[in-house]
């Protein structure tokens, strides 16, 4: 087993040369591979000097969690074990992160809901770990299929939420995610979402840098809160027990802390813009009056629909949201200029993204936001379904 103390100024404990995230993402030469989302996450974690990970089986994220275990066995990850259930796992990784570890875990659907109480605690503790969410439907009735309703429950948890469209994006995003989450002025947890099966189990061409390099380690002593390791003076807030007092100071302390978490998420915007090459990606006809606003696999399907619509002589564009929290309001407004109708195709029946877009843009633009089409329970979203929705609107 490796030892963290084997790390030098130039190399991490597994002997990989330490590089900046900029070098890893933008400069390092890449070679082409053919991998699933689960496999590519292993490759990302391998290059991230990760201290700790805790796992638990649930479809469809289990394979990704196994592969992180293999990295531990190979000496790339410092601490790894299987927890007792997702509530336990999310508390265990919280402990890892509080103790100063760069930490990652994965979950899906019912696991996310079981772990729920932890997520607000993570952000409230300003613990910058990464949760890779391979979205699946939630019960009941029982389903293991792709459906991203679970993301709705995380929207106001105080965590950053990024959404990757494909295997390549999962690789690049999950590396950038550590770096942005650990910025001292951000320092909140981050959720990197992909659609289960569609990305986790689909093999795609992907460009990867060599695996003899890894990003710089996490520095817990640059944290806005002291790590729980008895090496820093205890946080002053620990000694002022305002928690149970019913007075204005205690209310204000809690409220300002909550505001600060949301502000921290907003402060991630410049970093996310840099590492993700923008918070939204726009493709298709720039001057289209018809747009699709989507994230994840839904944006892939929207692009397919866009190409088909072109053949029918209808101009459209796809605005892919890469971050959900922070919500890319300014970028979305810019992309919607001149757009009359924007459709929001989603892999869930409630339309949380459409609702969020409407709420965020209310009174700020003239575009009509149309929630749909929506599929759920693992149904696919063929371009035809999207086009049918558009035609209904166009033909009145």
């Amino acid at each position: 087993m490796s030892k963290r103390t084997d790390m030098t100024d130039t190399h991490n404990w597994s002997g990989q040369k330490l590089v900046s995230t900029d070098y890893m993402l933008f400069e390092a030469p890449r070679t082409k591979h053919f991998m699933t989302g689960s496999e590519v996450l292993k490759e990302a974690v391998k290059r991230c000097t990760v201290d700790a990970s805790v796992s638990y089986p649930i479809t469809p994220q289990s394979e990704a969690a196994h592969l992180i275990g293999e990295l531990w066995a190979e000496g790339y990850v410092g601490v790894y074990f299987r927890g007792e259930n997702e509530f336990g796992v999310m508390s265990e990784v919280a402990g890892c992160s509080m103790a100063g570890a760069r930490t990652i875990t994965t979950t899906s659907g019912p696991g996310t809901l079981r772990a729920m109480e932890n997520f607000a605690m993570w952000s409230g503790t300003r613990a910058p770990m990464q949760l890779v969410l391979m979205a699946r439907g939630i019960n009941s009735p029982l389903t293991i299929q792709p459906d991203n309703l679970e993301v709705f429950y995380l929207l106001e948890s105080g965590m950053m939420i990024w959404y990757a469209e494909n295997v390549q994006e999962l690789f690049d995003m999950s590396i950038a995610a550590f770096t942005v989450a650990e910025k001292p002025d951000v320092h909140v947890p981050i959720v990197t979402v992909v659609d289960g099966f569609f990305v986790s189990h689909t093999r795609e061409a992907v460009e990867l840098p060599d695996d003899d390099i890894a990003i710089e380690p996490y520095d817990p002593y640059a944290s806005p809160l002291p790590p729980i390791d008895s090496e820093m003076p205890p946080g002053r807030f620990l000694r002022d027990p305002f928690v149970m007092k019913s007075n204005y100071i205690s209310y204000a302390a809690h409220a300002s802390w909550q505001f600060e978490i949301r502000s921290a998420v907003e402060r991630s915007v410049p970093y996310a813009k840099h590492f993700l090459n923008g918070l939204v990606h726009v493709s298709g006809d720039e001057d289209a009056e018809l747009a699709f606003v989507a994230c994840g696999t839904a944006s892939q399907q929207a692009k397919e629909a866009q190409r088909e619509l072109t053949k029918l002589g209808i101009k459209s564009k796809v605005i892919k949201l890469r971050t959900i929290r922070p919500f890319p309001e300014a970028e979305l407004l810019e992309a919607l200029q001149g757009v009359k109708h924007a459709f929001v195709p989603e892999f869930n029946v409630v339309g949380w993204l459409a609702n969020d877009v409407k709420a965020k843009l209310y009174g700020k633009c003239d575009t009509e936001i149309i929630g749909g089409p929506r599929v759920g329970g693992g149904m696919s979203m063929p371009a035809e379904a999207i086009i049918a929705e558009v035609m209904e609107k166009v033909n009145g």
Binding site: G83, C96, P234
Partner: protein
């Protein structure tokens, strides 16, 4: 490094409150001690608990003082807490403490301990869980037992007051059968959970049931439990700290109640695994006990 964090910046010394200066000068940090820390220093030394916000005469507050006085190396100890009456005292402890959720304390402690071993392979850092019976045995039972199964090198101390005291006196799994509390208006229908036995069965190398009536006894048990957790595996202490408020006693009656229960539900129970026994003998030889 660890003790240095309690040293006051000379520039600010003149504006520091006396209790902070005392913490640096008069607390019984282990590196300053020739012998093992313990109860005997309580009267002269600066305690690691500044004050507490529990009820007058609360045995739990006294028990926490005994526990803190007995930590082998407080400057390298992390304490993981849960929700309940104990969470009212934690902000007053001078060490690194964590409160995250109700019931997840052994899961958080597992993560912390493993990462501290990873980050500081050449240092001994102790992780001690201190939580009430609701947190340890009801809402958190899964995480308590699973940490024992996994052989996490942590010490779990349950302040068993046999009731949900902080929320107003509701029945807990540790309440004695027949006891009337809120949510059990006709009396509890099932037996008190024998948590010290579950701890033994679940892999604890040291499991003790006792009251906090005898400070030296409490300190001895705490010290042994922490030393065993370092080297051998998980340890558990079930400590009776009655809620005098909920059982209708006065502030000066807590000790009497604990003495009564020394012969009752909290008759001294001690399980020590053979490996732990051998290790304790070694500790004795080395003067750690």
């Amino acid at each position: 490094m660890a003790l240095d964090i309690y040293k006051i910046n000379p520039e600010f010394r003149d504006i520091m409150p006396q209790e902070i200066i005392d913490l640096e000068e008069k607390a019984t940090w282990s590196v300053k001690m020739e012998k093992a820390r313990g109860i005997k220093e309580l009267p002269q030394s600066k305690e690691l608990l500044e004050e507490h916000s529990l009820c007058a005469g609360c045995p739990e507050a006294a028990a926490l003082r005994y526990v803190l006085s007995a930590l082998p190396v407080p400057e390298e100890t992390v304490i993981v807490n849960s929700t309940g009456c104990t969470s009212l005292m934690f902000p007053h402890i001078a060490l690194h403490t964590v409160h995250s959720l109700f019931g997840n304390q052994n899961a958080v402690a597992s993560g912390i301990k493993r990462v501290l071993e990873w980050r500081f392979p050449d240092k001994q850092k102790d992780v001690v869980v201190l939580a009430g019976d609701g947190a340890t045995v009801d809402i958190g039972l899964d995480y308590t037992l699973q940490s024992f199964f996994r052989q996490e090198k942590i010490t779990t101390i349950c302040f068993d007051n046999e009731v949900y005291a902080n929320t107003g006196g509701q029945e807990s799994g540790m309440t004695a059968k027949g006891q009337v509390f809120k949510m059990a208006p006709t009396g509890k229908k099932f037996e008190k959970v024998p948590m010290w036995e579950l701890a033994k069965t679940s892999g604890c190398h040291y499991s003790v049931n006792l009251t906090a009536s005898a400070p030296k006894q409490v300190a001895k048990v705490v010290r042994e439990a922490i030393l065993i957790a370092r080297e051998i595996g998980p340890t558990y202490i079930n400590l009776y700290t009655p809620c005098i408020l909920e059982i209708g006693l006065s502030a000066n009656e807590g000790l009497g109640e604990m003495k009564d229960q020394d012969k009752g539900r909290f008759e001294f129970y001690k399980h020590v695994s053979p490996e732990a026994e051998a290790y304790l003998a070694k500790c004795k030889e080395e003067g750690l006990l």
